[in-house]
Symmetry: C2
Subunit: 746 residues, 2 copies
């Protein structure tokens, strides 16, 4: 510290001079773009303010937010969705509790809706053509909230209209293996209707697999074994418990990609180029319809044929047969067929994102983004309003501090309420398409809190490795709800943990797929991202997800009675997300630990060596360069970490801080390669693209390796692609390491 030398010269005048120097160096606020209550280039995290924010995050206000947000169904682009756009806008423009600015961004996107006039219907039709049974197209109105024009009937969004009819087969989860198994057992699938249960593979994949095997229509239901821990009686289910009632049906998008289907890679502005609507890849190839388990039971327990394998059996109280067709002496005469009438319509609708901003005092050009979607399938109390209720409470607390003039973050904070997530992460994807360059240059991290509370047992966090230590730091300082007295961290580690070679026992953080609005941030733009929620005690339930997911039973009362009475888990998530947000926006050094990528890379490398190594060796493909690249990355990340620790102990120059922060912020970008997987729309991150292989390793390598083993592929071309994918990931890792090494090293 240079001023020490100057102070050392001695006399009073010199001391005054020295004091002036200190003041000049440290105390004079520098001019910045937005109004800055206390901006200086060395402004960092203020623990007193963090603490005060933690205390102000209020469970009862979250509860009130949720009640308001979920009081009516608000599917994307509906009048109530638009009303909630206004609600969010008003909150963020409030002069006492609002942000610096807020604005809506509209996109014209292709959505899919059931017909109000002609509901989708599933019927059993006798051999003579008479309708033997017609299933009710709606869920039962158990609490008075399951009826009315704004309650969309259950449907498979983007499934094409059509009225296929055929003998019924049971196809377990509708995976490729499931259909192969049926064929192996001599069942001719051509022209059949397949009944499948949710889980295992994605919605859209079920239709694609089915169609490939000649199936002409698909039914999908939720088995009580998968969601209710086996319970299926009305007395055991909602409104008597958190379980899915017999008429409950999971809605959902059956589109295989994400983003507006008509405008891939382009923002869906009215004037934007649109694909020909009849020529879109990724839509279900055959009509499909989800049904409740009471209806599935009628069908499944009357099937003919041999028994399904043990792993295909469920909890409907009968032996599941495979079909085809119905058994003798059952409810339906043999030879009866199932007819699926789907009348879904594609519609170009306007969907809005709402963005709110708090301008950073020192680095306004660095964005910490926090978002959740706003649209639901029905009331969506859990999905997504539990997240939005938390979002609005965090923005209220920060907005209040801001408007009082007592705080302004170092970096810019952007809050987002995304539209049309349920149809395929559309609002967030269009946003990333529109602001691609700005976000790639400036976004520090994306924080997603979609469903904030699945259950009230423990935190669940997913993210890219650099955010792990940040989430750990934040949760160690926050009390878990309930009487345990533990921190969120200490509670979390009891539920889900792993042995880290670096840290020992730590909570397990999950990875990010494409389950919510973080997808385009991490996969398309390479922005470090996370998703936070409170979730289950897995010793108490094996439910796939909370039981009323995407049904008309996902209501405020459901949350209050069964998920989080007292809203303490909501509050815990608000504190966690709020603390993470503040640490990212206010810390002098970004709290992103890029060294934590080394552990991931090592585990990917080891998995490749162990599971792929010998066959690669036979093909003369060496993993040596990959090993070298991983080692270089590890060394560079560790050295950067050390440089930061050293800098933190000095009084670093603002540009030195910025320099290392840029290295931290931009690391994730270095893993992007838009040419690596051109067939995987939006997936450019060479570490987190979908891995269809069976080894948890670098996805491009894993996928190419799996294809090369496929007996049908051209062997030499397929192994060449393995080598190419290996070079792609080696180049990305070497390039990423180069960004972490000292910036002026050759």
């Amino acid at each position: 510290m240079h001023w020490v030398k100057i102070l050392g010269v001695g006399v009073g005048a010199a001391a005054l001079l020295g004091l002036g120097i200190i003041l000049g160096h440290f105390a004079i606020p520098k001019a910045t773009d937005p109004p800055a209550p206390s901006a200086s280039d060395s402004q960092g995290l203020d623990l007193a303010i963090l603490d005060s924010i933690m205390k102000q995050l209020d469970a009862s206000r979250i509860r009130e937010n949720l009640r308001e947000l979920s009081k009516e169904p608000h599917v994307a682009s509906s009048p109530r969705d638009e009303a909630l756009v206004q609600l969010v806008l008003e909150r963020w423009k409030d002069t006492v509790t609002g942000l610096d600015a807020a604005k809506t961004y509209e996109y014209e996107v292709l959505l899919s809706f059931p017909s109000a006039e002609q509901p989708n219907i599933v019927e059993v039709v006798g051999p003579s053509g008479t309708v033997l049974h017609s299933f009710k197209p709606f869920e039962k109105n158990l609490t008075g909230e399951q009826a009315g024009p704004s309650v969309l009937q259950p449907y498979a969004a983007y499934a094409p209209p059509g009225t296929p009819k055929g003998l019924l087969v049971y196809a377990n989860r509708g995976s490729e293996e499931d259909f192969k198994e049926l064929e192996a057992r001599g069942i001719n699938l051509s022209g059949t209707i397949a009944l499948t249960r949710y889980g295992g593979v994605g919605r859209g994949a079920k239709t694609i697999n089915a169609a490939k095997h000649g199936v002409v229509g698909l039914l999908v239901y939720t088995d009580p074994a998968d969601i209710n821990d086996g319970k299926s009686l009305p007395s055991e289910t909602f409104p008597n418990s958190w379980c899915l009632p017999p008429s409950g049906v999971e809605r959902g998008s059956y589109y295989e990609y994400f983003g507006d289907p008509l405008t891939p890679y382009l923002p869906a502005h009215p004037s934007s180029f649109r694909l020909d609507r009849h020529n879109i890849s990724g839509f279900p190839p055959i009509p499909a319809q989800p049904i409740g388990f009471e209806d599935a039971k009628d069908l499944l327990c009357n099937l003919n044929g041999t028994s399904a394998p043990a792993s295909w059996q469920g909890a409907l109280g009968c032996d599941y047969k495979l079909g085809p067709g119905f058994k003798q002496n059952g409810n339906f005469s043999t030879g009866s067929e199932v007819k699926v009438s789907v009348h879904n319509k594609l519609e170009l609708r306007t969907s809005s994102n709402v963005l709110g901003i708090i301008q950073g005092a020192v680095e306004p050009d660095r964005y910490v983004i926090y978002g959740n979607h706003r649209d639901s399938w029905v009331h969506g109390a859990v999905d997504p309003s539990s997240g939005t209720a938390v979002l609005l409470e965090i923005s209220r607390v920060l907005g209040t501090l801001l408007k009082k003039g007592t705080w302004r973050p170092r970096r810019t904070i952007i809050f987002a309420s995304w539209g049309a997530e349920e149809f395929g992460l559309i609002g967030s994807t269009e946003f990333t398409e529109e602001f691609l360059s700005k976000l790639q240059e400036r976004a520090v991290t994306y924080i997603n809190v979609d469903i904030s509370v699945f259950a009230n047992a423990t935190l669940r966090a997913q993210g890219t490795p650099p955010v792990q230590s940040l989430i750990f730091s934040a949760t160690k300082e926050i009390s878990a709800p309930g009487p345990s007295g533990l921190s969120i961290y200490d509670n979390w580690i009891r539920y889900t943990n792993r042995s880290s070679p670096v840290y020992g026992l730590v909570p397990s953080m999950g990875t990010l797929g494409a389950g919510s609005d973080y997808a385009s941030f991490v996969h398309f733009l390479g922005i470090s991202s996370m998703d936070l929620a409170y979730t289950y005690d897995r010793s108490k339930t094996s439910a796939r997800i909370y039981p009323t997911y995407h049904t008309a039973f996902d209501t405020f009362d459901y949350v209050e009675k069964f998920l989080d009475p007292g809203f303490s888990s909501h509050q815990a998530v608000a504190r966690t997300a709020g603390s993470v947000l503040l640490r990212l926006s206010d810390s002098l050094f970004l709290p992103l630990n890029v060294s934590d990528y080394s552990e991931t890379l090592h585990s990917f490398l080891q998995a490749a060596q162990k599971n792929l190594g010998s066959l690669l060796q036979q093909q003369n493909i060496s993993l040596g360069p990959l090993e070298t690249a991983v080692q270089r990355f590890e060394a560079a990340a560790a050295a950067l970490h050390q440089r930061i620790l050293t800098l933190q102990k000095s009084s670093p120059d603002p540009l030195q801080v910025r320099m290392v922060n840029d290295q931290l912020m931009l690391l994730e970008r270095a893993f992007l390669n838009p040419r690596a997987f051109p067939e995987e729309r939006y997936y450019s991150h060479v570490l987190w693209a979908p891995n269809t292989g069976s080894t948890a390793t670098f996805p491009g390598l894993a996928n190419a390796y799996a294809r090369a083993q496929d007996i049908n592929s051209s062997r030499s071309e397929a192994w060449a692609e393995v080598q190419r994918q290996l070079s792609i990931v080696v180049t990305a890792l070497e390039g990423a390491a180069a960004t972490l090494e000292p910036v002026a090293d050759l």
Copy 2:
């Protein structure tokens, strides 16, 4: 300025305190990574140092550099090329005149060479099979420098081996239209050998066009009309003038893409994935061989058939006929065929880049890159050694200041000596592939000086719009060589100028194609780039390029006698490039004027409206969104320019300066879209990709429009692609504008 208020309090103690504050605020050097003689965050361009550098750049040292660099042939990967690698390394590692560090980077790349044992030969073969004439495979040894094992015979690099034979036709420049014209005149091209002249279309394109029409072998020569202003006699040509002698042959790469052919998008490390060598796109499909005009004359003036069109005629002193075959009573009996024997070999060779670095004192993580290739075809005195001679002189002068401890730039300077440029910009492309992320994050500008002196009349500058004002500023301060007393700028504007709607009359700056090592920087990485040289008085010569280009006559004596006696033009280029380099590395605010893009965008827009508008309207494709995007860009760029002017008048905070500098630096990146033209390897810049249409407008739009007008294309799909390209460019412009707008605006 905040300290004024504090000074205002009065008494002596306060004044001392105030002085201290001033010192503390402005004078104490902040700690930075590399050793910094006088680093402070506000360190800017020092005009005295700039002036001193201008004076130290020494013509006689450039001359000595050139003599050493060009004394032996140094084709890529040859022993002499490797010796020059060591020469450059030694210069940059010199303890008195060198840089902070220097290093070589090796790549294993696929080059193409003629066979030393079996030279390529062109022969005339009589109808009976006897060889009637065999052309000499080498250039004449006119100065003692045109013979010896290191002088590669003239060849078409990457042309496949083969010995095609057929009747000769004359095909002008070998464009698609030229071959169509021949067919329109009833000439069956199938099985013919085509003689073409250089110019008009690229080397590789000539072979592709020829092969498409059934031609089996290609000859290429340089017509004296195109290079010698018609002169062709030995007495009128080198060594008696700067003109190409009759035996002179232009070598060159006939590869259609750039970068190592086996490793597109991957650095060519030994372990990298390589394409199957027999399955590469972009190589010439048929054998090809370049010949001198004395040989071309023998062939051309003996051709049979009708006269070629007037525009196809040249200066060989006879009426050019079209063929096929030779005329009666000429040198060769009718029915004689031409046989082209090509024995080129593909070889995997090691090629090196040399990089040298001066670490920035204040912003070491911002790179100003200055490069040129090192490899030549033969001695390469002009191409590329005239550029390297300048490069080494600039690095010497800066290195000397650095080693003396009197100067260190604000930003990092990287000098580069690229390998294997002549084969297809290979060294620079591999560099950008290897360090893609680091360069995209940190490179401010790439300065290329390949051939520094084509001729000694005037500056020629090519670049992306943001560098225009910088080149103007620099050249206004430097005297042009010669007795005019004019500045380089004032001299330049006399030779080539245009009327700018913004500035009035200014020198014309050219755009960047793929003619030298800037290509991957601008097209692949989106880095603002420029190429600088001294060039012709177009009123005195219409030569396509300096006449001995790529021949064995491009020697030191040629430069000294005919191009730049006294080396004052070399010095002028050194001063221009040196000044530009220093301004970029040392100015507090980056001297990149992004507003100058507005003029380009307006001109592209107007051209689209004028030339494409009516047909687009017929297709219901509106240019309205493009107009809006251009306007938004213009407004954002102008406002940013104003903000910078205002900031410059204040004493801005280092982070504020960095913020606007990042906006300036990264603008070019916002024009990249790696998915816009997937078939155009490396071309991702939506404004500068190749435009094959006839309108100077947005290239994606122009190309799609041209295809839609092609009668053979599917009309609706082709017009959809026009709309898609329009949306791509609108999205890029809107996105770019968003990066220029105030960083914390919604």
